[in-house]
Amino acid sequence: MADKVLAVEGLKTHFFTRSGVVKAVDGVSLSLAPGEILGLVGESGSGKSVTGFSILGLIDPPGKIVEGTIHLNGRNIAGLPDEEAQKIRGKDLAMIFQDPMMTLNPVLKIETQMVETVLAHEAVSRAAARARAAEALAMVGIPAPEERLDAYPHQFSGGMRQRVAIAIALLHRPRVIIADEPTTALDVTIQSQILAKVQELARDTGTALIWITHDLTVIAGLADRVAVMYAGRIVEQGPVDAVLDAPRHPYTQGLIGSVPSLGRRGSRLAQIPGAAPSLASLPPGCPFAPRCGAAVDLCRRERPALVALGPSIAACHVARQAGDAA
């Protein structure tokens, strides 16, 4: 485990609501090596964002991490008291959110927000903090960083705002950045600029990334490994090439089939019937079974465990039996 900068084991985050216990994250394990980019893929409500929030210690009641460990640099940070978590958040562990307009304070200059972030974790002079902020802005490719520090968030375009958010995340050279759909709201050409920058930063600074998205095509171009989530659990995880070229889990296969792509113009897309189940009342057995074309009796009775299948791991009875037979 020594070479892992982040290791999550058996994480369970449940929300205790009046209509029952919502098992948003229900036994997730993943790990990250320095400089590695892990794509965390899933549809709305699959628990991918809650996984990210749990790692950062940002789960508020009625939500609670009920089980599992989160080791950052070998130290368990799951369920740390708030003051302790504050010391890590923004320093060793940073987050980039989908909409920078929501995360940047609209009435404060960029400088104020960035200097505050620097001073929160380090006792340096304001001038030194400002210099660090300008440096971070330059690193993400914002022209004239010294002048732009005096601007307000609304004076930036969407792509530039997201760069500012990334610059803030980079201020303390964190070991791990969790990015929650950071390019979903951006145009393709701007998205490419951001992705290029992120790739470069991961390579040059050794920062590891968890890239949360619903978009498999972004993961294909960016990530080293990919984990697919469904109904609060990882159903398949492995190297990008293995998962995208030879998906083992029927849900992964369905997701890939749903992506409009080359050479299938005008033909019907492979659609997954139905919709994701409610997390408050999951069916017994495999949660994907009601939508799965390959489901057998066993799938409806018994929940499949993650087992190694080639270079990947997948949680599927049918894929495991096919793997045993081969």
Binding site: S258, P260, R268, Q271
Partner: protein, 337 residues
């Protein structure tokens, strides 16, 4: 000239949004300040046709005017300049009845079904209101018409009594489609209609669009920023940049041999399933403001191939080798001189 066989034709259509000087600005102007009115050139002399039965993909990045073109066609905005033709007849010269019929024949489906469905109306009323108002069905027949419309988009007819919040995202998208179809349109303008949906649901809705086209003989203008979706569904693609059409061609030709530098850059930047751990190549800069568009070709400040002519002279759409048209000086005599 416009082909009379075209279902819809736009000829040199422009749309400008003008923000007048406010009171404080006017007073300041009297005292010698110089506050100008702000004009957004959303759509700048756009010409294109929609043939019957076609699926045309209208692609561009935010602020390029693609939604405005959709709204001009759907009759939500009136053009500032230029003419719109319906079955070869100028819309401005039609009688009020003909105009109403034309407008009813072109329906729009919006991006966010939660924002475009009235949260306090039941699905049945959302779908059934328009055909009753327009006299297509009587009040007594409304329930039947709603049931048919719901079944057509793959929803259980008993859902008519539910409110929008009781549906999932994919189901709400279907209600938006059912509402548009309830007045028997010929043309659907789909403005980013699948952008907000999860991939597996997006696939369901795209399949539904194609089934409906086969069943009802519809014509689509499919507005999207997602080239993957457009490539899948469209037979012809129109690319816009900052209010102007820069290229239009049959889908295969455009994706195989993009002629305009902007189209080439756009295609190079599309994330694809088969492109792994790639180095992202980027085009520099961002889209300029439509309040002060650059002179000459709108793309020249970001174009890697631009020459002195591009900053001076706006290129016009002209026939290109791939069978479509492109607005680029490289296609018409070069960028020097």
């Amino acid at each position: 000239m416009t082909d009379p066989a075209s279902l819809i034709a736009l000829e040199g259509v422009s749309k400008r949004f003008v923000k007048p000087v406010d009171l404080a600005g006017k007073i300041a102007n009297m005292l010698g300040a110089n506050n100008p009115t702000i004009t957004v050139h959303a759509v700048d002399r756009v010409t294109f046709q929609l043939e019957e039965g076609e699926v045309v993909g209208l692609v561009g990045e935010s602020g390029c005017g693609k939604s405005t073109v959709g709204r001009l066609i759907a009759g939500i905005h009136a053009p500032s300049e230029g003419r719109l033709f319906w079955h070869g007849k100028d819309l401005a010269t039609l009688s009020p009845e003909e105009k109403k019929a034309a407008k009813l024949s072109i329906q729009m489906i919006f991006q966010d079904p939660m924002a475009s469905l009235n949260p306090r109306m039941r699905a049945g009323d959302i779908i059934g209101e328009a055909p009753v108002v327009h006299g297509l069905v009587s009040k007594a027949e409304k329930a039947d018409a709603v049931a048919t419309a719901l079944a057509r988009v793959g929803l259980d007819p008993t859902y008519a009594r539910r409110y929008p919040h009781q549906f999932s995202g994919g189901q709400r998208a279907r209600i938006g489609i059912a509402r548009a179809l309830s007045v028997n349109p010929k043309v659907l303008v789909c403005d980013e209609s699948v952008a907000a949906l999860d991939v597996s649901i997006q696939a369901q809705v795209l399949n539904l669009f194609m089934d409906l086209r086969d069943q009802l003989g519809l014509t689509y203008l499919f507005i999207s920023h997602d080239l993957g979706v457009v490539r899948h569904i469209a037979s012809r693609v129109v690319i816009m940049y900052l209010g102007r059409i820069v290229e239009t061609a049959p889908t295969e030709a455009l994706f195989d041999h993009p002629a305009h530098p902007y189209t080439q850059a756009l295609l190079a930047n599309v994330p694809r399933l088969d492109a792994r751990r790639r180095t992202f190549t980027t085009i520099k800069g961002e889209i300029p403001s439509p309040i002060h568009p650059p002179p000459g070709c709108h793309f020249h400040p970001r174009c890697p191939l631009a020459g002195p002519r591009c900053a001076r002279e706006a290129p016009v759409l002209a026939r290109a080798v791939h069978g479509g048209s492109v607005a680029c000086h490289l296609n018409a005599g070069g960028v020097d001189a």
